[in-house]
Symmetry: none
Subunit: 195 residues, 4 copies
Amino acid sequence: MKKNKPKYTQIIDAAVKVIAENGYHSSQVSKIAKQAGVADGTIYLYFKNKEDILVSLFQQKMGNFIQKIEEETNSQQTAVEKLLKLIEKHFEQLTADHHLAIVTQLELRQSNKELRLKINEVLKRYLTVIDQIIEEGIQDEIFRNDIDKRLVRQMIFGTLDEAVTNWVMKEQHYDLVEQAGAVHDMIVRGLTYRT
Amino acid sequence: MKKNKPKYTQIIDAAVKVIAENGYHSSQVSKIAKQAGVADGTIYLYFKNKEDILVSLFQQKMGNFIQKIEEETNSQQTAVEKLLKLIEKHFEQLTADHHLAIVTQLELRQSNKELRLKINEVLKRYLTVIDQIIEEGIQDEIFRNDIDKRLVRQMIFGTLDEAVTNWVMKEQHYDLVEQAGAVHDMIVRGLTYRT
Amino acid sequence: MKKNKPKYTQIIDAAVKVIAENGYHSSQVSKIAKQAGVADGTIYLYFKNKEDILVSLFQQKMGNFIQKIEEETNSQQTAVEKLLKLIEKHFEQLTADHHLAIVTQLELRQSNKELRLKINEVLKRYLTVIDQIIEEGIQDEIFRNDIDKRLVRQMIFGTLDEAVTNWVMKEQHYDLVEQAGAVHDMIVRGLTYRT
Amino acid sequence: MKKNKPKYTQIIDAAVKVIAENGYHSSQVSKIAKQAGVADGTIYLYFKNKEDILVSLFQQKMGNFIQKIEEETNSQQTAVEKLLKLIEKHFEQLTADHHLAIVTQLELRQSNKELRLKINEVLKRYLTVIDQIIEEGIQDEIFRNDIDKRLVRQMIFGTLDEAVTNWVMKEQHYDLVEQAGAVHDMIVRGLTYRT
DNA sequence: CATGAATGAGCGTTCATTCAT
DNA sequence: GATGAATGAACGCTCATTCAT
């Protein structure tokens, strides 16, 4: 698995395009190879098997996705600001790459349990970012200290995920990013002390 | 399709068990037939094709699920109480039938887009229940009137769904129902006026 | 096999209709039963199996067909006249029952070798009628005595069969019966002495 | 579909053998693949589906068959001589390849209407050869000018076809080729002027 | 490194036939 | 005799993966 070779990225990008345009179940290895401009067999020089393409795809794309969010939230001062930034960047990035949005929100969920477990591994890093913001909010006595942190994380991630999925399924007919504020507002109200 | 015949239910129950135990992609028609104690061909006396088994499964099980929630929420007075009941019953019912929980939260999501569209049809009825509670809360001036109803619905459904999925993936090692109150609390705080 | 019962004929007539309208491969036993107005199982009280329906169908219908031709040719004096009558009645009868024409010329030929062998048994009686006319023609010194009788029979039957099949495949857009004279003429010229 | 590859021919030849020996309805794709010495899947690299094997088989084999007849008849001077050559070559070629004879005369006729339509397309070329000979015979005033050309063609093709089918069904117990003269004689007498 | 022809396991569905009622 | 629900064997086709070149 030589991850620095251009063909590695070529194949992953081809996979995103093919899956977004044809759907998970119509995305045969041969179709991805064709789109990438390589022979079928070449795929197996860079990936262990088909599942490995998808896992790698998710790792690469979500890696960037999460890193961007980590950077942007770190540039913010308070937990509340960080949370807003997280929501904004989450929506912005998926809005900017609608192929990726389709693949992560709809198509990759059709994969089997095994693949989804590996996907969850990747997501843990994102959930950790959320956890840290929650923790920070509690430490700074901005968020209530009687909340169940796991539940809060589930609420935040569940809400964002459902919002994006709905937006993708509605074929992106409205502006997702401009809803970041409202989503943030609802969530924060649930977490902060009433003053 | 004789839906009142015992074999119809037999096959659906067999499908739930087989899918929960083997996973969506390892649930061949022949395996379901064997579990149901009928011949392969018998399946096709009650269902148009394999997909029809899954759609029917979802319609039957989620039909009951939603009806129970409708009944229980209607017996409550305020929007806040109704929302609590909805969350409790949502968690209770999936806790009571963990095979069904696995199937709806993990396995059926691996189905193709077509099937998922039909599943969404069924879910619409549940989303309508949520919508009505939100509406009622606003009418009664308990919920803030500047909220985006669609976003609220996405938050509620997304949070519950994520909470259940996490619980299923953790192999039900903790008590989901006892979290209903905390989840309810977080959500309601996001919706009500600060007093 | 109770051949005198009305249901026996009912089923055969249903089979002709179903096969003519749906084609051999879309003519399931259940479809024939429905058309006949009986239960699937009832078929098996009157016929050993599906093939037996088709053999019986052919025996009944071709039995009548051949008997008619035998009668009509016997009412003629010379071999030449008899041959004309045979051709006319062959064309007339299939023109009169186009369902039967479709079934015998196109659909039943899709059956397997075994069934076709049984069909040939039935046809032998027809070929015998032809043979007798040829024999008579030679005896009466109307037909040449150096002809190979088997070949003549093949020419006669092959020509009529091909003519009818063409007519059926052209969806009966022209009048088959009015060609009887021309066909007869060509054949007879091949058989008689040049004077 | 790479028609110049040896495997393409291998599979077609295997199909002829398998169908001739097992009958149309017992000729599964897997059996043809085994006979051809390739994997089942390989079949589908060279043919669109099972029907395509059969259509291609007919096109290839009958293509050669007809081409040979075209060449040989063209080397003859008169319509009468051409017709004799046509009959001789028709009988010779099917005598030389009795597997092919069984397949074309008996087994392929069991195919469905769709396939038979495609087969008829191929046969049209043969019928055209016959038509041209008839036309030429009339032009040269050897054949009578009051004959119905379509009927003549049906007589010629029907007679040859019936003769070969009889020979195949009698399991080739006699010499078909030596009958060519007699068949030719009968047909020509029906077409020429009596002098 | 790269190719792409070849592989072969795996599965949804049909339908002639049976048999308990 | 009549029913029709139930049976289960049979098969064409796909596609991830391999490997000789």
